[in-house]
């Protein structure tokens, strides 16, 4: 145990031994600290579940709209139900929008002055962000499972696949969402207010989500848009998940999805932590 870590003032102290734990590596501490933060955020979610409710209602509405309103007009090819085509896209869209709440939560922490408190503690420098992305991942998992239930209820079925592939599909989905959480964290730390995090944090995902193969085949889009819609990361992930859930060629899209996710985390992880270290409340 280390000694002399400021545990001497009897006025502030009491009967509790205040010697901090020692002898763990910084990676272990990083994870432990992040877990404390994640637990706190999950408590918030349960205590004030509006966010959770909204993040479920919105994709459910989407599914119903797309299936029952546009579904008839969208031609997804012979022998394929629109709902089977749609659900992988909806899963991706759902987790991406869910991931965008990461930056909002962080901006709120800053607005409430909590960021200063956390930054004054000897906790790991990345823990507040890592904890937030972690709790958002848990929330996303929960929402995706609910969406799966909704999908199954309106006729979605897995085809030409097996359990391992389905699990891999959800894994790719959630990893991509986790990567987007770090982008959102970076935005949340870079902008100066909750409002800015709210609008600036969402606006850029709309073209990514809608100019993609999530809801309609890329071939149905105008020619100038197709190269982008075909190759941008959301489409790549949708294709990979779709192939894993309802069959189709796999390897290329799966590897590209993993590469995108890892690449995004590698860039935006350190970047967001850098912003975190510099920002102060208010």
């Amino acid at each position: 145990m280390t000694t002399g870590t400021g545990t001497v003032a009897p006025g502030a102290g009491g009967s509790v031994d205040l010697t901090p734990l020692a002898g763990r590596g910084s990676l272990t501490w990083g994870l432990l600290d992040a877990w404390v933060i994640a637990q706190r955020n999950l408590r918030h979610t349960w205590r004030v579940p509006d966010m959770l409710v909204f993040s479920i209602i919105q994709p459910v509405l989407f599914v119903l709209l797309f299936v029952y309103v546009f579904g008839g007009a969208i031609n997804v090819g012979p022998g394929l139900n629109y709902v089977d085509f749609l659900m992988p896209g909806v899963f991706v869209q759902t987790v991406i929008f869910g991931a965008m709440l990461t930056g909002l939560g962080l901006a709120e922490d800053r607005q409430r002055g909590l960021l200063d408190r956390f930054r004054s503690l000897p906790m790991s420098r990345s823990a507040l962000l890592a904890g937030r992305t972690l709790s958002d991942l848990v929330r996303n998992l929960f929402v995706v499972l609910l969406m799966l239930a909704v999908g199954l209820a309106i006729g979605f079925r897995f085809h030409h696949t097996n359990l391992a592939k389905v699990v891999a599909g959800f894994g790719i989905l959630l990893l991509f969402a986790y990567a987007f959480s770090w982008v959102s964290a970076t935005i949340g730390m870079a902008v100066s207010s909750v409002e800015a995090a709210q609008s600036g944090g969402f606006i850029w995902v709309f073209p990514l989500v809608f100019a993609s193969s999530a809801f309609a085949p890329v071939e149905s889009m105008p020619g100038w848009l197709q190269p982008f819609a075909e190759n941008q990361p959301v489409s790549v992930v949708v294709s990979a998940v779709r192939a894993l859930f309802i069959g189709g060629p796999l390897a290329g899209d799966v590897i590209a999805s993993l590469a995108w996710s890892v690449g995004i985390i590698a860039v935006f992880g350190p970047l967001s932590v850098r912003f975190y270290r510099r920002t102060v409340s208010r």
Binding site: G6, T7, G11, P20, R40, R43, G113
Partner: protein
């Protein structure tokens, strides 16, 4: 004097030439500070003086643009991490999680200070008890009053019983009763050896709590010393006199003019007179003079100048007006006649 728990004779805070700008706007322009261990040091200044910026730099939240600072012998930039495990900070606005309960807040902070869960919990309960929050321990902080929130915030900054505590305007926004309670808590901490750096806009508060005071304005220290030192800089005392109704005000004023060092302020309606004097010795002379002039004395008193006057003398303007009803807002320090 106060118990100094550390044999180390190093100052608790040593800052030299701290500079910090936000964009092009300078907030600190060469701030120097020296705080001895086991003392309370007050940073006194009006809105925008740079108090919060100074506290943020010393508590490792902000990097200075220039100058250097050590807290408990550790450089605030190079040893920031080690320092965070030794200090406590209660910022200008209570920084506790509104959606957690009081207990959950303190346990969380304890764990982030890397206490094992069980001890973090025991410490949290101990602090809640001490700050009179035990009954509200299970309530969500969003439902706390402002005073309760402040106390919880202070408790959070004491989780590891730090030897160095930074308090940024600890009583701003509190009602008089909570303010007095807060003063008591701070007094207790210091009695037991904690070094405290506190900022305040309340002259009264600095006078009450601080062993030494740095008056800051425009991002630097414009005066430093004990409250007494600072008052002495304004020069001597002020003599206030009330004579019997219908007495000879002109004669009384003449006596005061002879004894004083400045203009005599005469309040005809209240039969009051006031004048700056060099020291307590003139009192006898004044009483003899009034006696000789046949003026009947109702009340006579010598006042040392308040920090209000200090601020006025140092900066040429008044500090923020204090809200009415502050504790200590009593006649002895408040009835100064400005001339």
């Amino acid at each position: 004097m106060r118990a100094v728990t550390d044999t180390n004779s190093r100052p608790a805070v040593l800052a030299e030439g701290l500079r910090k700008s936000y964009g092009n706007a300078p907030a600190l322009v060469g701030l120097d500070l020296l705080v001895a261990q086991g003392t309370v040091h007050g940073l006194l200044g009006p809105n925008g003086a740079g108090k919060t910026t100074a506290v943020r730099i010393l508590s490792t939240l902000l990097r200075p643009d220039g100058g250097r600072a050590e807290v408990l012998g550790l450089d605030v930039v190079r040893s920031a991490n080690a320092l965070r495990a030794r200090i406590g900070l209660a910022g200008q606005y209570a920084a506790v999680d509104e959606r957690l309960t009081g207990l959950e807040n303190l346990v969380m902070f304890g764990r982030l200070y890397r206490l094992p869960v069980r001890r973090a919990r025991a410490r949290a309960e101990e602090l809640l008890e001490r700050f009179d929050l035990s009954d509200a321990a299970g309530k969500v902080v969003g439902a706390y009053s402002g005073g309760m929130r402040r106390r919880l915030d202070l408790a959070a900054s004491l989780v590891i019983a730090p030897r160095m505590l930074f308090l940024d305007e600890p009583t701003t926004g509190l009602d008089p009763r909570s303010r007095l309670a807060m003063w008591e808590v701070i007094g207790d901490l210091v009695r037991d050896g904690t070094t405290v750096l506190l900022t305040t806009q309340y002259l009264e508060e600095a006078d009450q709590l601080a062993d030494r005071i740095s008056v800051i304005d425009g991002g630097r220290v414009i005066a430093e010393g004990t409250a007494d030192d600072l008052k002495a800089r304004v020069g001597g005392h002020r003599l206030d006199l009330v004579i019997a109704r219908g007495g000879d005000l002109a004669a009384a004023a003449e006596v005061l003019r002879a004894a004083g060092t400045g203009l005599v302020d005469v309040d005809h309606a209240g039969w009051r007179l006031s004048v700056p004097v060099p020291g307590a010795r003139v009192l006898a002379e004044v009483i003899r003079g009034l006696d000789a002039a046949d003026v009947e004395i109702v009340d006579v008193a010598l006042h040392r100048p308040s920090l209000d006057d200090v601020f006025l003398t140092l900066t040429g303007r008044r500090a923020e007006e204090e809200p009415a009803g502050q504790p200590g807002d009593d006649a002895t320090t408040r009835d100064l006649v400005t001339t």
